[in-house]
Every structure is written in structure tokens, then in C-alpha cells.
Symmetry: C2
Subunit: 245 residues, 2 copies
């Protein structure tokens, strides 16, 4: 049923790929806002109207690019994890964080496409969900390994803040305690806060050495998710009695 169409079908997927390739090139150069269907068609030597045979609208083209970007990010995260196979969970965690950051710095417009302002009204069709989860799965895997190994240090939380109403446990990682999943998702969002601020210029006159700063913050995130056990040592400052309200 696929080879019967033969040349036609193959030509179609070839043209589709060429469109996406050229679109990705323009995206990397000018950003999603400047991505123009007419310019893509012009560059490919075809009429702009012919392009609508392959993508019914500009947003559909963008959606395709979004999915690709998610996959690309997921690959980068997996590669960073595999490159840090031998080390402990903390360093593997920070390694993946840095891998994600490096990908973002290398593909700023693609990052903006998936984690920046949603371009049209509010798209995000469900087809993007699995691709989006690929990178997240890497972090989940690290936490799962750590939990099965030495366990996780759950920082003491005010009891009224226990996140029981967060529903992701079953869908995302059924074998992890819900607090861990909640903390993990929060860390996930926070990581992209750090990266987004750096990428979108929010650190411009604020943070000088971004590499060091990011390593610092990623290490703190490892604390937050419970990968680091509280060390006995010089922890608190001057007068530090008991608890605070």
C-alpha cells in the first residue's frame, strides 16, 4: 500500500522534507516570526501556492518544526546522559542539564519555538506531547535510578504544601512517589526558566559568567529534587536557631 504509489509518494515525502529543511534553515536564521512561506517557496523555486499541497497552513509547517525541535532536544538530552554514564546521579543530572542548555544555546530559535511564546493563538496540538516528553524522560530516568539506589533525600516541606492534587504521577512515572514527581516537574520548569532567561537576554546586565552561574543553579536543582543528601557541616550563618514561620 506504500510501494504501490511508488514515485509519486516518494516525490511527495522528498518535497516535504525539502520544505521542512528550508523552513528550518530560515527559522534558525531569522526566527519563527520571520519565517515566510513565500520565502521558502521562492528558495525552493516553486510557486508559493504549490506549498499548500504539503502544509495546509503556515501553522502546520510550524507544528512540524516544533515536533522536530522536541525530538532534537530529546536526542541532545539522551546523548548527554549517555556521555555521563559512569558518574553518579548528581553529576549525571547536571550533565543532562548542561546538555539541554547547550542545545538551547546552539538552537536558540528552535528553543524559542517550543518553550517561548506560543506563536499563533494557542496551538500545541496533542501530537507534540509525546515528543515533548522525550527529554523529560531522561530526567525521570535519573531520578528513578537514584531512588532505586541510595534513595532520594526529600527536603522537609511545610506540610500544607504537600502536592497530592498533582495528577501526573500515574501518567508520567507511576513507580515514583508523587512528591518526587511534583518536585521533578517543578525542577524541569525551573531549568527552562534559567535557560530561557539566559537566551532571551534577561541576564544581559546581570549575570556575567553564565557557565559558572548555570552550573551553580543546576547543582541547586539537584539539591531540590533530592539527589544530594544534606551534608553535615558549615551550613547556616550567624545566629540560626530553629525554624522560621
Amino acid at each position: 500500500m506504500s510501494s504501490t504509489h511508488g514515485a509519486r509518494a516518494r516525490a511527495r515525502i522528498e518535497v516535504t522534507a525539502a520544505i521542512k529543511e528550508e523552513a528550518r534553515r530560515q527559522l534558525a536564521e531569522e526566527g519563527a516570526v520571520k519565517l515566510s512561506l513565500r520565502a521558502v517557496a521562492r528558495e525552493l523555486g516553486m510557486a508559493s501556492s504549490a506549498l499548500y499541497r504539503y502544509f495546509p497552513s503556515r501553522d502546520d509547517l510550524l507544528t512540524a518544526l516544533i515536533i522536530d525541535a522536541y525530538e532534537s532536544l530529546g536526542e541532545a538530552a539522551e546523548a548527554a546522559r549517555d556521555a555521563a554514564a559512569g558518574v553518579g546521579p548528581v553529576h549525571r543530572w547536571t550533565a543532562v542539564c548542561e546538555g539541554v542548555r547547550a542545545w538551547a544555546l546552539g538552537h536558540p530559535h528552535e528553543y524559542a519555538l517550543i518553550y517561548g511564546t506560543p506563536v499563533p493563538g494557542y496551538s500545541a496540538p496533542d501530537t507534540t506531547v509525546p515528543a515533548a516528553g522525550r527529554a523529560a524522560a531522561v530526567f525521570i530516568g535519573i531520578l528513578r535510578d537514584a531512588e532505586r539506589g541510595l534513595g532520594l533525600a526529600q527536603p522537609p516541606l511545610p506540610s500544607e504544601l504537600r502536592p497530592e492534587a498533582v495528577r501526573m504521577a500515574a501518567d508520567i512515572a507511576p513507580d515514583l512517589p508523587p512528591e518526587v514527581v511534583a518536585t521533578m516537574v517543578a525542577a524541569w520548569a525551573q531549568l527552562f526558566g534559567l535557560i530561557g532567561f539566559e537566551l532571551f537576554g534577561q541576564f544581559n546586565r546581570v549575570v556575567e559568567d553564565r557557565d559558572t552561574f548555570f552550573r551553580h543553579a543546576a547543582g541547586q536543582l539537584a539539591h531540590t529534587v533530592g539527589l544530594v543528601f544534606p551534608q553535615p557541616g558549615p551550613a547556616t550563618r550567624p545566629g540560626a536557631p530553629a525554624v522560621r514561620s
Copy 2:
């Protein structure tokens, strides 16, 4: 020098205000991408070309809106801080976090304008910097008060991650130790990671009860910046020996 121009000048600032008002209305309705100079002019009953007497380009109009948005966010943060005047630093911290989040949820497009993908190429003229710092100053103030009071609990960090190369100490808060400022800036970015994810739909099939989740995460951030002292108690899970690599 200002009253000499009299009517002319007053008309000018009135028209300028009307343009900004209408632009802000369209921004709130459709988002920055859809904001059209011609539509603004149309709604105001004037020719589109006349609008260029007041804003030399579309980006300049957006810049004006950006500054306003920063100020509006700053006001919201200050209001949240003042509303939580009597409580301790931890609850004041989370109160301001929730105030910022509430502002973002109430002004999604304005939030996207200042913390989302930068709209043009890369603008962010320096005029926006002071306005942007207004909300940040609220958080700094809380940390400063806490440090002068009971002190801050500095979580133990791997020594190689000490952020000495972060230059913001002098500019931002000269009276706070640099690690505190670095941690604070990181928490600042992370807070907007959380808000941005919620706002831009990244939590769509992931986080159910966003209020609870955010409160949880904001509490964790209070830990991160050292507002909460480590509690003796049931901290770690099963077998939890010493340290991890």
C-alpha cells in the same frame, strides 16, 4: 519649557496615551504578534501614517508597552509584599511569588511580551532595565530583611560551583553576599520558568491543580534561597548513608 507649548504638547501626550491604551487593549486580546499599527489607527479613527508621528515604528510602540508591563508587574509584586507585611520572610516570599503569578495569569500577553520570546530581532533597549528591576527589588528586599534578622541558611554547595564570577553583587545588592545574590537570581529565573510553563501550556496534560503545585514549588524556592532552615526530622529515605558523588 513645557508649558510654553501649551495645547500642542498636551494634545500630543493625550494622543500618545490613547494610542498606547488602544494598543494595550489589542495586545491583551490578540497578543503581540497580532498587534497591528493599522488596526490601532483604524480604531482611533486616524490614518495609519499619522501614527508614525508618535511612534517611529511598531517596535517602538512595543517597547513602550514593555516598559509599562514591567512597571505593572513591579506594582503587583510590591502590592503582594505590602499585603503580607506582618508575616515572616518565608510566607512573604511565597506571597510575592503568588502575586507575580497572579499578575501573569491575569495579563498573559503582557507577560509573554516581557518574558517570552523577544519579538523583533533582539531589542531590549537599556530603557527597560530599570523597570525590569522593580519586581526583582521586592525579592531582594525580602532576602535582605531576612539576612539582617535571623540570617540565611546557605545550603552546602559543591565547592567548585561557588559563583564568584557572577558580577551582579555590586550592581544589584552590594550589601548581600555574592552567593546569596547568585542564588536569588537563579530563583528569580526559576520562578519565571514555573510561571511561563503554566502560562504557555507546558503543564497542560501534566499538572492538574496548578495552585497547589505552584505553592509547593514556591515553598521549595524559599528553601533554595535559604529562607528556611533545615529541619531536624524525617528527612531522608530508606538507606541514606553519607554523601553522594
